[in-house]
Symmetry: C2
Subunit: 480 residues, 2 copies
């Protein structure tokens, strides 16, 4: 028995471990967990077996104060152990987990707005350690605050290499013991999630995906369910975890709708923190209106439909995949940087959020979208510019305003700020009529060149804004 520390910051991870030996399969034959208490509040948390006769339970305290815990377990050495720790204020940069606010948007638990600006490295934790470190180095300098990543390794064009670690004991290919996890695999995953957390990046953990040659996409239901419980027990305490039930769930031919509902139920029931949950589609969208979905995770090119999707689902819309910057022959991975940056602004100006990916051909198949490594595209610095724009304004997200078919317009802060985005159009002027009695400062933003030009003076009522007559222009109006 030991505890990692007697003092844990709010929204940090407290870990309690105990040792016991088991004659059978410790992954399946032993139960272990703990009940955490603060005053009259009780939180029951599943533990997990981590190899070497070691059982652990992890917990994220969300309130400051003196927490106590008492273990439960099916082996004597695991049962009825007590410990306590003090939860202290969060350190700088720790804003807590991200949740949904204002129906369509996100914020950290401390109220700081979270403007989702995601990227994608599906299999980065399945590459050699040096490449994983390089990915973290790149992310540290990149604008992204969310990363989509798979628990399972990936088998797909440009991704034929075997991973250093597998999630189960056994031998590739397909001679796995799905009842015995490989702790080393999950320890690496957790460390990477922690490192992302320390970079301020949410980890959108993809639990299943179809790009598989090892059999992980087609396990028996019992193995699926055990796997989900194990992942939740290990990872849920990290405040930057989001759950993505799948990448392209509808391309997994052996799963049916009822399977996905069961997976959602398991995660929903086992996760003490109710981390954000969604599921990403290939061709057929999931019904994100279902109550266990916290936000829509979407693959679509049709970002002009953002406001329509908001109305359909009544939840935050994150278009995680709208085609990637790159030059591969597959159409989902060969749009220009201009186009991807445009899609980010288009989604923003529709009241939603967009994700990045990069797929430039590389002699060693080092494509960011799958393996991480280095970014070579031109969109990230423009996405950084967008992120600064989002964070420099009234708190809260954008909502549709003043709809017209030929441009997007949103407002936030009850009209304190308006954003109008013209996309690929190149108007040389724009006429507008603002609410009577209000005065505004007007800025003309070139989203590609990353410039912001303030118009002289104050504007009110009906007026015409001169524009540069080239694509990728946005206008911001700030109420005085």
């Amino acid at each position: 028995m030991d505890s990692s520390s007697d003092t844990i910051e709010r929204w940090g991870v407290f870990e309690y471990s105990a040792r016991a030996s088991c004659d059978g399969n410790p992954f399946t034959d032993v139960t272990f967990g703990a009940v955490f208490r603060l005053g009259h509040r009780r939180v029951r948390v599943d533990g997990f077996y981590d190899g070497d006769d070691t059982y652990r339970v992890r917990f994220m305290p969300d309130e400051e104060g003196e927490w106590e815990l008492e273990t439960f377990g099916s082996l004597e050495a695991l049962d009825g152990q007590r410990a306590s720790f003090r939860c202290v204020p969060p350190s700088e940069g720790n804003h807590g987990p991200v949740g949904v606010i204002d129906r369509f948007h996100f914020a950290y638990a401390d109220g700081t707005p979270y403007y989702q600006v995601g990227t994608t490295c599906y299999a980065w934790t399945h590459q050699e350690p040096g490449l994983q470190e390089k990915t973290l180095e790149t992310l540290a300098a990149a604008p992204f605050n969310k990363l989509r990543m798979c628990v399972f390794p990936k088998s797909y064009r440009y991704n034929r290499n075997e991973p250093p670690l597998y999630p189960f004991e056994g031998e590739p290919l397909e001679d796995w013991d799905f009842a015995r996890f490989n702790p080393a695999h999950f320890r690496n995953l957790e460390r990477r999630v922690e490192q992302l957390r320390d970079l301020g990046i949410e980890a959108d953990i993809i639990l299943f995906h179809p790009y598989d040659r090892w059999g992980f996409s087609d396990m028996p239901a019992e193995a699926d369910d055990r796997y989900l419980r194990y992942v939740v027990a290990r990872l849920a305490a990290y405040r930057n975890v989001w759950w993505s039930m799948a990448n392209e769930y509808d391309f997994m031919g052996t799963k049916c709708e009822a399977d996905w509902e069961r997976y959602f139920r398991i995660v929903q029931r086992r996760d003490p923190y109710q981390r954000l949950r969604s599921i990403h589609n290939g061709h057929r969208w999931y019904d994100h209106g279902k109550p266990w979905v916290t936000h829509a995770s979407v693959q679509s090119s049709d970002l002009h439909r953002m406001t329509q999707w908001r109305e359909t689902y009544g939840k935050p819309i994150v278009v995680d995949e709208c085609r990637y910057e790159g030059n591969i022959e597959e159409g989902w991975g060969n749009i220009t940087a201009e186009d991807l940056v445009h899609r980010f602004w288009q989604g923003t100006a529709g009241g939603g959020y967009v994700g990045h990916g990069e797929t430039y051909l590389h002699p060693d198949d080092l494509l960011w979208w799958s393996k991480g490594g280095e970014l070579r595209g031109e969109s990230p610095e423009r996405i950084a510019f967008l992120r600064r724009f989002l964070e420099d304004g009234p708190a809260g997200g954008f909502h549709p305003a003043m709809h017209r078919w030929d441009r997007h317009c949103v407002q936030r802060g009850d009209g304190a700020e308006y954003l109008i985005y013209f996309g690929w159009s190149q108007p040389a002027e724009h006429s507008i009529e603002m609410p009577a009695g209000e005065r505004y400062h007007v800025e003309v933003i070139d989203t590609w060149r990353m410039t912001t030009d303030a118009l002289v003076g104050e504007h009110s009522g009906a007026f015409t804004i001169p524009l540069p007559g080239r694509p990728h222009i946005a206008v911001r109006l700030r109420r005085i």
Copy 2:
């Protein structure tokens, strides 16, 4: 009585005129026309009153030989007159009228393929004569082989000037005698149609449109019908005439579906040559499946739906309006030249046809799309490049082939030529599998830079084509 000539080339215009005086209204109280005969063939043609006690009947002979005519009329001087002329072979460049072939495409009557590459100058014949001449001069050097133009003047933003001539007698605004046409207006219109014909340009004559301050969009049904008969009698003989019932028909609130059916019926019944007929939409598409519609004339931005529209209507699809190159604030008139050229190739690679328009702000409101004048954009020379591409290949139009969501592919000549177009995508390579046993020459086309690079050697079976990794690339494969 006189005839313009005793010898008329095939598909030229023969005109016969007669003089008579009438106490009442010669436009409504007098009937006049002629029956033209070649052997046992008889063609009944309506004449029209052209002012100055002069009645005319025009006829386009479509067969060589000795034609005879006999007039009919409700005044003695107009009735039973006889004349004859010899129809001789067409002069160079006269390929006859354009008709539908191969269900989805067009050809001239002599079999020459007609690849529609249109533009738009709605009100060019309503400008000062000097500007009309300038428009013709511009068109002579431009790639376009069809022009959309209105019979009625237009009242809309950037188009507030009064026209030099009105179609009816009376005084603006709205004190018109709809029962008395203004022959001078129609003589100018005809002369311009003739001049277009001599430039090899089809005149897509728009019979009604909503942008009106004179009352021409809201005449009594009787006046509408008389107007249609008059226009058909005057213009149908010009082989380059197409009939467009309306521009944005659904924006004409005082017309109902039955009105449009009646207009189509009148034109269909009165036009001896059955010129091409369509109708252009605003928001609500006309049902182009109706039997009196010869081809779909469409306003839409969704050119990736071209193949779907072909299937829906089973007719040639002409997207006459897909947004114009320009910089006005209205979204339908501010796309870049790149985007418009892209739309032309996208439509072509979907097995259809696209139209051009240009709307750059001008200190004197000289916007090509409405008034004509000069072209200032960058798309026309690229559209010329496309036209040369279309005319340099197996005769006939393109049909969808090898569908994939991320690029367009069409073929013509039963697989003699394939066109693959990648649009805004920037693949650096493309893998393809061609029909077994065939060999191909491969060309990589930069549709924006207007370059064509032939790959070395012959290609067959499955192979990968290296591409430049930038947008606007097409590939042509020609069977050897």
